[in-house]
């Protein structure tokens, strides 16, 4: 098991990044915070050995996205964005509305767009993280971009 100092260090290093991913995936602040918490608990419990910082970061993203996916699967219906989450998104958007548009498209596209355009991962790395083929990720990226563009044009332009 990882000691709490290591966890603290990891939370400082990767907490914001994981929270962004979880918030984009779950569209709910409370769930996103819980997902981040669960990720770090898994991190502490498993205490995996990492070959590099990049490896550690990728592992955390993979676990967080799996946890988010489990939460999404258990939701009986698509949840609407609550006011608190909306406010957080709006504050971050500072007028551009692009993040808000991102939150409106289906989750399978949200995650690949987030990992690629926000976290800067390449398609094969994303494929590894989310357990899909690289070409599937490319498809999702392409379609996700299109959906995002359409949503943005329709509602924010």
């Amino acid at each position: 098991m990882q000691n709490t100092d290591c966890v603290r260090e990891a939370v400082e290093e990767y907490g914001d990044m994981l929270y962004r991913i979880c918030l984009v995936m779950l569209r709910n602040k409370a769930d996103a915070e819980d997902a981040v918490q669960d990720t770090f608990i898994r991190y502490m419990q498993k205490a995996p050995a990492f070959s590099s910082d990049g490896h550690e970061k990728a592992w955390l993203i993979k676990v967080a996205s799996n946890i988010c996916r489990d939460i999404l699967k258990l939701r009986s219906r698509t949840t609407e964005l609550d006011e608190e989450t909306l406010n957080t998104i709006a504050a971050a958007d500072s007028g551009s509305n692009i993040l808000e548009a991102l939150m409106q498209i289906p989750d399978k596209f949200r995650i690949v767009l987030t990992l690629h355009y926000i976290e800067g991962y390449k398609t094969d790395e994303i494929a590894e993280m989310i357990g899909k083929t690289s070409s599937a990720v490319k498809m999702r990226l392409a379609k996700g971009r299109k959906l995002l563009e359409e949503k943005y044009r329709k509602e924010y332009m």
């Binding site: 915070e33 981040v36 419990q45 676990v63 799996n66 489990d70």
Partner: protein
């Protein structure tokens, strides 16, 4: 919408300090309470455990909603047993996110996972090898465009360009395959050597593409050869890429030369970089099922890797939730694997290998796979051709519209209409009547793209009809040759169109020639007086006899109405006055080189513009000399 804004916006989202503290507190609490947890993530190989058996019914996979936790495959002589570990669905999402991700519980069992997989809507592909027999020859159009694209001399090499998401085309030739990818204004290509099914990536170079426009370099979109609309967004953009073939800039690299020099006829096939080429119909799926079900499988511990390079390397896939099934058929062997993606990010893979008499079965399945791939390719080719044809049609319609608009603009009220034989540069005017006939003829032509190079071949039978304002600030012209026209304006490049009128040139010339004015002076009699002057310096009376001779001479030539005098500087000027009870007119004849113009002034007219009317011109090199001789006498 700028996608870069996404990153900027997202980076403003941070986890609150409270939340961080809560996480750390929770970690500390668990650290004190929870024991380390054993996982199966290290079990990557073949697992020889037997679990409780319960048949796993088809379609059950689709119903799994919570995380399936682990699976194992075991083979017996006639079949397989499998245990799928499954979590019970949790009613509360937050508890599931922790416990569900961490624990492996309830077993879900199958005694025949291959049958389970085949019961699903599995997909098929044969991308495991490059020489598996499917080929598709390039069309002459594609071949020509590829050569054109690659042969363009100018390119700029760029470094470290991320070609993620690029789309393109693969070529296979001998032991090499080549990939040409396109993304934005960058084209990349790679050459890979294929040895026993393994590829060694060679250099991957990217080049920016630009075109020279009047000395300035402007970055343009790169040409594409074949781009799947599914993989690159906006179809209009794709069409633009497909339809535009720009010149490239900078150095030619050795590997590119290799591609260029490679006889394209030797390229045995191509493989589009796109998905969904492996869609199969339910009938085909049933056919595959029947082939596999008939196999007698004999489990073996492993398979010699070399066998993987045999010709029939095909894969059946089925993926659902966290499970992925894969059935590979290669040579006389078959492998079946189940991969489970754990909620914690790990993967567990179980693979079994079998010997079976797969030769017939593989051949049949390969045929189905190839047919599906071909269908996919053909579908995409058709889609692209359809889109390209639509784009071409739209582009043509736009060109035609512009052409018609230009012709209309040429006949606008403020435009003087004139014409001259192609190669000449002095205009003749037209009357209102001919102007209307010309407009009617030209504006109603049905046109399609023509060949401007044919103009020079027909230069002697070409005529220019032009329209220009008095100050020449606006001008448009149409060159007519054969049944083709070239439209030229200051704003745009020459546009050449073929018309549906086979005798266009002849008809237009008949209209223009019909403007010729003979017996110009006949109505003017008797002239009261006539004088001539040379550049306004001297003025001399012309004897009546001489004037009549001049009139007769003038009557020998064709005269064309013109809208303006043209330059009268240094011209011989003859003024003839006709003043009597009926009229008070002055005829001005200007003689200069082979150009003679005649203007008639109505001295009784009130307005200035009415005084100057009926301008005509005539071209004849000898005529000036004839007139001079007459006058000198």
């Amino acid at each position: 919408m700028n996608i870069d804004d996404l990153k900027k916006s997202a980076e403003k989202i941070t986890l609150s300090e409270d939340a961080k503290e809560r996480i750390l507190q929770k970690s500390a609490d668990i650290s004190a309470e929870v024991q380390p947890h054993r996982t199966v993530s290290g079990d990557k190989g073949y697992t020889d455990h037997v679990f409780t058996v319960e048949h796993y019914k088809p379609r059950r996979l689709a119903k799994i909603t919570a995380g399936l936790a682990a699976c194992a495959v075991i083979a017996a002589s006639a079949g397989l047993t499998m245990k799928l570990m499954k979590n019970q669905p949790k009613s509360d999402s937050r508890s599931a996110s922790t416990a569900g991700a961490a624990e492996d519980t309830s077993p879900e069992i199958s005694d025949d996972p291959i049958a389970d997989m085949l019961a699903q809507d599995f997909t098929i592909n044969n991308d495991g090898s490059f020489d598996n027999g499917y080929t598709d020859k390039l069309s002459p159009y594609q071949r020509e465009k590829i050569r054109e694209l690659l042969s363009s001399p100018a390119r700029t090499e760029i470094d470290n360009y991320d070609m993620t998401d690029c789309t393109g085309i693969k070529f296979i030739s001998g032991n090499y395959y080549y990939f040409i990818g396109v993304k934005g204004d960058v084209m990349s290509w790679s050459r890979n050597y294929i040895a026993l099914g393994e590829t060694e990536p060679a250099t991957l170079k990217g080049y920016s593409v630009s075109s020279d426009t009047e000395g300035s370099t402007e970055t343009k979109e790169v040409a594409g050869i074949r781009i799947s609309p599914d993989t690159d967004g906006d179809p209009d953009e794709l069409i633009k890429k497909v339809r535009k073939y720009y010149k490239l800039s900078a150095n030619i690299e050795a590997d590119l030369r290799a591609i260029i020099n490679m006889p394209l006829e030797n390229i045995i096939g191509y493989d589009f970089f796109a998905e969904n080429f492996n869609d199969i119909s339910e009938n085909e799926r049933n056919e595959i099922r029947s082939y596999i079900h008939g196999l007698e499988l004999k489990k073996v511990p492993s398979v010699d890797a070399a066998l993987r390079d045999s010709n029939a390397n095909i894969t059946l896939n089925y993926e659902e939730e966290n499970l992925k099934y894969k059935l590979d058929i290669f040579g006389s062997c078959l492998s079946f694997s189940v991969t489970y993606f754990h909620p914690d990010g790990e993967q567990t893979n179980f693979t079994s290998y079998y010997n079976a008499n797969t030769s017939d079965c593989a051949e049949h399945i390969l045929n189905i796979a190839n047919a599906s791939i071909q269908r996919g390719i053909q579908e995409n080719i058709s889609k692209l051709e359809e889109e390209a044809s639509r784009a071409e049609e739209a582009s043509r319609a736009k060109d035609e519209q512009t052409a018609i608009l230009n012709i209309n603009a040429m006949f606008a009220d403020d435009m003087h209409i004139g014409w001259f034989p192609y190669g000449d540069d002095i205009g003749r005017g037209v009357s209102d009547e001919v102007r209307a006939l010309l407009f009617s003829k030209l504006s109603r032509l049905r046109i399609e793209p023509g060949d401007i190079s044919e103009l020079e071949k027909n230069a002697e039978k070409a005529v220019v009809v032009y329209g220009s304002t008095t100050d020449n600030s606006k001008s448009l012209s149409v060159i007519i040759f054969g049944n083709q026209i070239v439209i030229n304006s200051k704003e745009s490049k020459d546009q050449c169109f073929k018309t549906d009128d086979e005798f266009l040139y002849e008809d237009i010339m008949a209209l223009l020639e019909g403007e010729s004015k003979d017996r110009l002076l006949a109505p003017y009699y008797p002239p009261a007086e006539a004088v001539y002057e040379y550049s306004g310096i001297s003025e001399k009376a012309i004897p009546l006899e001489t004037l009549n001779e001049i009139a007769q001479e003038i009557n020998n030539y064709k005269w064309y109405p013109v809208s303006t005098y043209g330059s009268t500087q240094d011209a011989l000027h003859i003024k003839v006055s006709f003043k009597n009870e009926i009229q008070d007119k002055t005829l001005h004849i200007y003689l200069k080189d082979d150009y003679i113009s005649i203007a008639e002034n109505d001295n009784n007219a009130q307005a200035e513009q009415q005084k100057l009317m009926n301008n005509y011109c005539c071209y004849h090199k000898d005529f000036t000399d004839v007139l001079k001789t007459l006058l000198e006498e």
